[in-house]
Amino acid sequence: MMMSRADYRTGVKPVWCRGCGNFGLLSTLTRKLFPGLGIPKHKALVVSGIGCSSRIPAYIDTYGFNSIHGRAVTIAQGAKLARPELTVVVIGGDGDFFSIGAGHLPHAVRRNLDITCIMVNNFVYALTKGQTSPTTPHLKRGEGAFLSRQFYPPVDPLLDMLSYSVSTRASFIAQGIATDTAQLGWLLEEAVRHKGFSFVSVLTPCVTFDPPELFDTIREKARYLREGEVVELPESSPDTPWVHDPQNIGLALRLAEVSLMEEPLLGVFFKGGGGMTDAGLSAG
């Protein structure tokens, strides 16, 4: 059965602000990812948490569950175990994944089920009107123009996901940007194709609560990672550049140490070997 792009949208009108980066993700999913991989809509399940980004399931005509804050990845795993033939996609915000939901991630990584997590990183708690999130860039009070309420350093989602993956060597970790839907579409396809747990961080502007400088900076400093090509490091880096090899977790750890605010890297950070079979879990 062929699916047209329109097939993947419900009749529900998004509640997002005009210009919100979430529109980019929505169209990447409904126009690229699902039709591109030819996934029939009943074979996909989109699970989200709570946040602006997490409103997305109502707009996608696959099975969907806009669940509760921080727990989407647990629900997704349960569904995948029960029906391995489903393509399971988890969508949530930076708060969802790395604040209230942070405790579920190391365990999801080691279970290594074949699900794909998409973290909509807009560096802010948007739905609740602009509080700092765990990824809000760290600036001392008054030091910078924006987000000055953040007093402790941000968590580093990519580094954390990589460190969780050291034992399994089996995850897929990537970063895209909502404003480049072409690359994002490709990254998401790779992530879904990867047999095992995948995590994609999507840098996403929140036009209402992010200071515009934040995303301007990100877009300006962003560099693409390409397999087999030399990694462009920021000038401040003391490291000697190396050839990007997403199979090498040691190099991936070094990549993840590059500060996002100095140089946001877009591409596949790490792609491990195949995971355990899903059956492993129930054979317990």
């Binding site: 009943h42 399940l45 709570i50 399931p57 727990r71 029906r83 579920h104």
Partner: protein, 570 residues
């Protein structure tokens, strides 16, 4: 004169093999057709501290161990004194002890010092088997010499310890040969069929599997872990899904995920874990996802006393969680009931697309009984989800308002029926809705769909003379002791006892029972009388209603309850 029921106590330190002795005795007796019920007690030590069991063997049916044992085997008086309230001595108790008691302790008349260790050494060269020696002696005293003993020892996995130690057992049988122990001998079992030995936690797991549960997610917690253990052992062979998760929030998330994808899913926990499940309970209720949680209650609040029973989670089971998230609350009162009620619970969860909370407790969950296996062999009709008829394609409304308020449910993966769930207030399509009318309508739907359960008379049992105006209402494992106390006092004709296994929503049969009484006693093991207050909140109670309630930490005894029970019957 042989007895129809004898209670045996054993006390010592963990290393003495106290629980093993009790278990072996229970199994041996089960092969002769005896019913039995074993209670276990531990001191504060994590392992190897004071341990005791109290065990009734009964020729006619499962009965509770008497408050004081008829026979006490004591390996260590110092440890005994840490648990003496659980195996108190009566003047008639026959005491078989290994080492001399401390000077302060006055023993009953029929007390005998027996060197179990020495006998073990003589038979095997080591004193490791002193508990088997004691078993031999007790076995003789009880007259447990039926023809099936050797078959049992050869074939029963649970008795394999005896297989290598038949000589030790026999050595025990010869001890104190010169003494007479009249009155300890058991009558022959009325029904000689071999009894099945299991505890409530095992029964819960097996009942759930019987009902078709194929997804279990858990996190260790005392006293519920045995359910997880059993599921971990059995599910793989049934092609089911099992995960020990990182916490109880994840447990519920995993289970909801499995449920929306079409598996009958459940979990089991105890108080602290139930607290953590609160937010997910609300989600299950709001999104109408079938789910079963078994809560094996222990003493609260907070960490409380993890190893002891209480019935204090009822409030949370009924009322827990913000907003109004209707759910079903059930409570078995005995081990076969644990099995049956799990079948019911899984059925109800599916049929009504609802959350069901089953309240067990530590002593029901961990206490081994030997019972007739009829409940295992019975036929149980299973219920499945109400399914979309097929005509919906294109405009399937997951939360369609129907006459019975239950909407046909598709599960993730089915063609032509995609839909979107949410914990937000939503319309029939499942799409977010922020208006009052939809909010009210969906509340009505979720509450009303459960109302037919109130008519399920079979989920309420009434014992005794239905025509008398004196009644006792009790729930969960307390019911066992209430019933025993009524029997013990010979008041079966004076007072009737109502034990609802469905607690919420409140069955009509309970209301009828209350209306039919002019004097009522409510018995439960918690401090504030949660069930009593729940009843009051729903209906008028007789003016003469008394509550007998106290915190947990010690089982109710016949003696303790005889006051209030006599009072209500008067």
């Amino acid at each position: 004169m042989a007895s129809s029921s004898v209670t045996v106590g054993v006390a010592g330190s963990g290393g003495d093999g106290v629980v093993a002795l009790g278990s072996l005795l229970q199994r041996l007796a089960a092969w002769q057709g005896y019913f039995s019920h074993m209670l276990r007690f531990y001191g504060p030590q994590i392992r190897g501290g004071a341990t005791a069991v109290r065990l009734s063997l009964d020729a006619e049916g499962v009965s509770l161990p008497k408050d004081s044992p008829d026979i006490l085997v004591c390996f260590d008086w110092e440890k005994y004194l840490e648990v003496d309230r659980e195996v108190p001595l009566a003047p008639e108790t026959v005491v078989l002890y290994e080492k001399a008691p401390p000077s302060g302790l006055r023993l009953p008349k029929k007390s005998f010092e027996v060197d179990f260790s020495e006998a073990s050494r003589q038979a095997t060269g080591s004193d490791h088997n002193k508990n088997v020696v004691a078993l031999g002696l007790v076995k003789r005293l009880l007259g447990l010499c039926g023809d099936r003993a050797s078959e049992a020892i050869q074939t029963d996995e649970g008795l394999h310890l005896l297989k290598q130690n038949v000589a030790v057992l026999e050595a025990g049988e010869l001890l104190l040969a010169g003494h007479s122990f009249a009155g300890l001998e058991l009558c022959p079992a009325q029904d000689r069929s071999v009894k099945v030995v299991l505890h409530g936690n095992a029964a819960v797991a097996q009942g759930a599997l019987r009902a078709g549960c194929r997804a279990f997610f858990g996190y260790p917690i005392t006293p519920a872990s045995e359910i997880m253990q059993e599921m971990q052992d059995k599910l793989p062979r049934l092609d089911g899904v099992f995960v020990q998760a990182e916490d109880e929030i994840a447990v519920m998330g995993l289970a909801l995920g499995a449920s929306i994808a079409g598996l009958k899913a459940m979990t089991a926990t105890s108080g602290p874990g139930l607290d953590l499940m609160t937010e997910m309970m609300g989600l299950a209720s709001a999104a109408e996802v079938p789910m079963v949680i078994v809560d094996v209650q222990r003493c609260g609040p907070s960490t409380g006393i993890p190893s002891k029973a209480e019935q204090s989670d009822l409030n949370h089971a009924i009322y827990g969680g913000h907003g109004e998230a209707p759910r079903v609350v059930m409570a078995p009162y005995d081990v076969p009931g644990c099995y049956r009620l799990l079948v019911e619970a899984i059925n109800i969860a599916q049929r009504f697309q609802t959350l069901v909370i089953v309240l067990s407790d530590q002593w029901l969950g961990q206490g081994f009984v030997a019972v007739n296996d009829a409940f295992l062999k019975q036929d149980y009709p299973l219920e499945e989800l109400k399914r979309p008829g097929g005509e919906e394609t294109g405009d399937y409304r997951r939360y369609l308002m129907t006459d019975d308020f239950i909407s046909p449910m598709a599960v993730a993966g089915e063609e032509g029926l995609t839909y979107q769930m949410t914990g937000l207030n939503h319309n029939e399509k499942g799409w977010p809705a922020f208006d009052f009318e939809t909010n009210q309508q969906m509340h009505r739907k979720r509450y009303s769909k459960l109302m037919p359960l109130c008519g399920r008379d079979g989920l309420v049992e009434v014992f005794g003379n239905e025509n008398c105006g004196r009644g006792i209402l009790t729930w969960g494992s307390s019911a066992q002791i209430v019933l025993e106390t009524v029997r013990w006092l010979g008041l079966q004709d004076e007072v009737k006892v109502c034990v609802p296994q469905l607690i919420h929503p409140l069955p009509e049969r309970v209301e009828r029972f209350v209306k039919s009484t002019d004097k009522l006693l409510v018995v439960e093991m918690n401090y504030s009388g949660q069930f009593y207050r729940y009843l009051r909140a729903q209906m008028d109670m007789p003016r003469k209603t008394e509550l007998y309630a106290r915190a947990g930490g010690r089982l109710f005894s016949r003696k303790e309850l005889s006051g209030p029970v006599t009072e209500v019957a008067r």
